[in-house]
Symmetry: C2
Subunit: 206 residues, 2 copies
């Protein structure tokens, strides 16, 4: 897989330089991004930290408290900006079922279903996402060894299966809100997500 384009965009209110990469293999509707967050010195650690994040319009844009996507992404930006790192931003909204179906699933959750049962009730699997493309994106920018910031064991498995060396997995912080307790609990109980202690910035220094 080849890089299609790379452009520098200043991100966050601090105007942190970030290189946005697009790729030739991904077509309309699945415009996945790899984003290199530059460190203050401009250097990148030998083993950079990677966050794999799937698009969540309600969380990422509107800071919905029904999930933890928004604060997880903001935390990833803070952590990667410290020493340099990568965010893979994958256009697979609502665990891959799309925005409109996600809203339908939210309605079912309002009547008591958990987040996975709602997806199944709509005819989807627990999780319709894939993470196999991330390894190809990393290799296209010559990154083969990373620390992974993620609670989801499937993300680590997908990287390792596709030839990326994951030397450490770091949990995100637990972003509990009055509206997402059942959602977080379902991730732990049904998909084996691992919530660790709050990420200590020191642990991601190299």
């Amino acid at each position: 897989m080849e890089i299609r384009q790379s452009v520098i965009i200043p991100v966050t209110e601090k105007r942190i330089p970030a290189t946005f990469y697009s790729f030739d293999e991904f077509g309309t509707g699945h415009e996945h991004l790899l984003i290199k967050i530059h460190s203050p010195s401009g250097s990148m650690p030998t083993v950079p930290t990677l966050r794999i994040h799937s698009e969540c319009l309600t969380g990422d844009v509107f800071q919905s408290s029904r999930c933890d996507c928004g604060p997880q992404l903001q935390e990833a930006l803070r952590i990667t900006a410290k020493n340099g790192g990568y965010i893979a931003y994958l256009r697979q909204e609502g665990r891959g079922i799309g925005l409109y179906n996600k809203l339908d699933a939210y309605k079912l959750q309002d009547s008591g279903m958990d987040t996975y049962a709602a997806n199944r009730h709509l005819g989807f699997n627990n999780d319709a996402r894939t993470f196999d493309m991330v390894a190809k994106m990393l290799k296209a920018v010559n990154v083969t060894t990373i620390k992974l910031l993620s609670n989801n064991p499937k993300k680590e498995q997908a990287l390792v299966k596709n030839g990326i060396n994951v030397i450490q997995r770091l949990s995100t912080s637990c972003f509990l809100s009055p509206d997402n307790k059942n959602y977080l609990q379902a991730k732990i109980d049904l998909e084996n997500h691992i919530f660790g202690p709050k990420v200590d910035d020191e642990t991601v220094s190299v």
Copy 2:
């Protein structure tokens, strides 16, 4: 056009209740939303304020300073939350050319083209968006008279042409950054955008 689904999602760090509407006519890839931002009292003004906002992943999610989309959306959330109002969030990234093409256009802008010339160089019009669907979305929730928060005369024209009564147009604030001066100037010079004085919250009270 009928409402497909309506769900309440608490948004922003203040957990402001917002009703997210999806619609039966919009299919995969164009999952436009109408979002009703509730006021603190729960009441909606007789003439609510509407912001029409087209998706900008780099601005809305990553607060890119190459455009003014991010702060415009945050301002719209603040203003509508004060008295109640609507945000039409339209899935037409990059003035309708998509995210990957937008990154290609950014690369051209880095070599000196303005934002519209870059789009044309890639084979697109200045602006590939349409706003005609917003009137249908409003009518589906029984709103026919609004105040419009927008600098873009085409948005007002599209509403009026499709039977919405726009009693006032309010400019957004001017969100100038070190990285978006040429972008804002091109909007003024080439597409007649109207930057007014900073929005006074009092003017949007009813």
